[in-house]
Amino acid sequence: MAAHMSGAGHEGEFAAAPELPAILPPVNRRRGLAGLIARSPGSSIGVAILLAIVFMAVMADYLSAIDPARLSPIARNRDPSLQYWFGTDMLGRDLYSRVVYGARVSLIVGFLVALLSTVLGLIVGMFSGFVRWTDSILMRVMDGIMSIPPILLAIALMALAGSSMTNVIAAITFAEVPRVARLVRGVVLSLREQAFVEGAITAGTTTPMIIWRHILPNTLAPLSVQTTYICASAMIIEAVLSFIGAGTPPSVPSWGNIMADGRALWQVKPHIVFFPAVFLSLTVLAINLVGDSLRDRLDPRMGGKG
């Protein structure tokens, strides 16, 4: 759309009539994996990284030879070596094992928060959209929750609930639900005006059936994008919470905790912070890439070629 405009931007080059598109070259769509990668390199990279991280999390028991919790006081703060691939931390724990196990924590928190907040947000959003008298109350409450910056809200809930992985998941979910609820409500309200839904109502279709047949399928597309982003943001919030000491218990090898352990020494032993940081960033990046390509497919306005 805008691509040819920018091409004609230089002075004097502007043609009186909009330039006709050159005859399109014959489309030679490659099939199979190679074709898929060529068509959307971003999401392919994302999926590849994500699969690798999932593999790492699932196979953690086999990938690491050393128990991530084992202390070896004689081997503290070692630099990366053949024995300790990523070095050791200030208690002599093997960082490679800890980082590998850390993938489990991040993935579990990310996926569970995404799933739970989507389901809860869907319920709240549907309620607001269909049971009209609950709408103003529910939406004011959602606005209230959304006015507290999510990280702060999660911090507050964690301070209240005490550190455990369940509490981390619950706290982040609580902070993310309003975003889903708002989205679902918006979709429901616009769908209700559509002829096919009005038709279904007139024909006497019951509300649960309308939700199931007409509303839900049309909500899933925008919701899937939102869910991916929530997964990515949940992983970041979990790491932040652990990093400042309000997340998973210090004994759990989560990437945020490993970084928190390395904080005091980062100027002399930067590798302790470096390895979990790289893995965390790569994982979040992978999920965001998948989310972006989903979004581009559904809403071409935001990204892509313009």
Partner: protein
């Protein structure tokens, strides 16, 4: 328009009320009994009961909420359990680094992100555009403390251009103050720049495709005034809105950035309060930040109804 502004101002009241209620419930539900903390180790059960009555802790939930609300409206946020200093005083002491960091980041981000987004939209589909979009994805993906450590390692530890950590107050001079805040602000700005640049690009793409831009080009106007005068002005509303919404990212990020760079601001206050389970302080900071966020977005909404004559309510 005045009617709209008034309505918009009033609409923040219930939201603020709900935030206050949520934050109050937080303290109410907090484990531990403030009365026994204040009474000390050797206090008898009767002493604790007396203090409980003095503090009004024995009264019903909603009445206590009402009283608490009355107190915060007069600027009384309670007393820190840990240091016995009024929370308001603690907040005022820690305000300068945080406000400096946030304002610096805001200015820096807008100055970097808006031209970036305009450039990407103008050169849509080219490698410049792809570079900007790649930066945006990275900005969203790399957590602020990771960027913080990276910047501190390269630009402070290795190159020595900036102090590694610590804060130089404004009273020690503008130079040291700016130097101590540059790395934290750069780290904090990444995600914000990504957000603003992306929105700027998207809205600019739509605007650049409209007829009056074609007319301006047909008149033979230079590219620069077209982009920044004709187009950006009309793309401003979504961009300004996202700047307002992004303040939430800024607030959350500030807490972490202050930990990385050891800045004595509100973020440090919050983190210390969590470790000490100092609920009144946590409550006060969250309340402050949330109200700040609500008010900033209120101002944003009102400003563009005044600035943009197309918006009529």
């Amino acid at each position: 328009m005045l009617h709209y502004i008034l309505r918009r101002v009033l609409s923040t009241v219930p939201v603020m009320g709900i935030v206050a209620f949520l934050v109050f419930s937080l303290l109410y539900l907090a484990p531990g009994d403030p009365a026994s903390v204040i009474a000390g180790e050797q206090a008898s059960a009767a002493d604790i009961e007396r203090i409980r009555e003095q503090l009004g802790l024995d009264r019903p939930y909603l009445i206590r909420f009402g009283e608490w609300l009355w107190h915060i409206m007069r600027g009384d946020l309670g007393v820190s359990v840990f240091s016995s200093i009024p929370v308001t005083q603690l907040i005022v002491q820690r305000l300068e680094p945080t406000v400096s960091l946030m304002v610096y980041t805001l200015i820096l981000s807008v100055l970097i992100a808006v031209p970036m987004g305009v450039l990407a939209a103008w050169k849509a589909g080219t490698s410049i555009d792809r570079a900007v979009m790649t930066f945006a994805v990275l900005g969203f993906s790399i957590p602020v403390f990771v960027i913080g450590y990276l910047l501190a390692y390269v630009m402070a530890l290795k190159l020595g251009w900036f102090p590694v950590q610590g804060y130089a107050p404004l009273s020690s001079g503008i130079g040291p103050w700016l130097r101590s805040l540059t790395l934290p602000a750069l780290a904090l700005s990444c995600v914000y720049v990504a957000l603003i640049a992306r929105t700027t690009r998207a809205t600019m793409l739509e605007v650049l495709n409209q007829d009056y831009i074609k007319t301006a080009r047909a008149k033979g106007l230079n590219q620069f005034p077209i982009l920044f005068h004709h187009a950006l002005k009309n793309a401003a509303v979504p961009v300004v809105t996202v700047i307002g919404i992004g303040v939430a990212l800024l607030i959350g990020g500030a807490v972490v950035t202050e930990s990385v760079f050891v800045l004595p601001g509100l973020g440090r206050l919050t983190v210390d309060a969590i470790l000490q389970r100092d609920y009144p302080v946590i409550q006060g900071v969250i309340l402050l930040f949330s109200f700040l966020y609500i008010i900033i977005n209120l101002i944003v909404d009102i400003v563009y109804t005044i600035v943009d004559p197309r918006i009529r309510y």
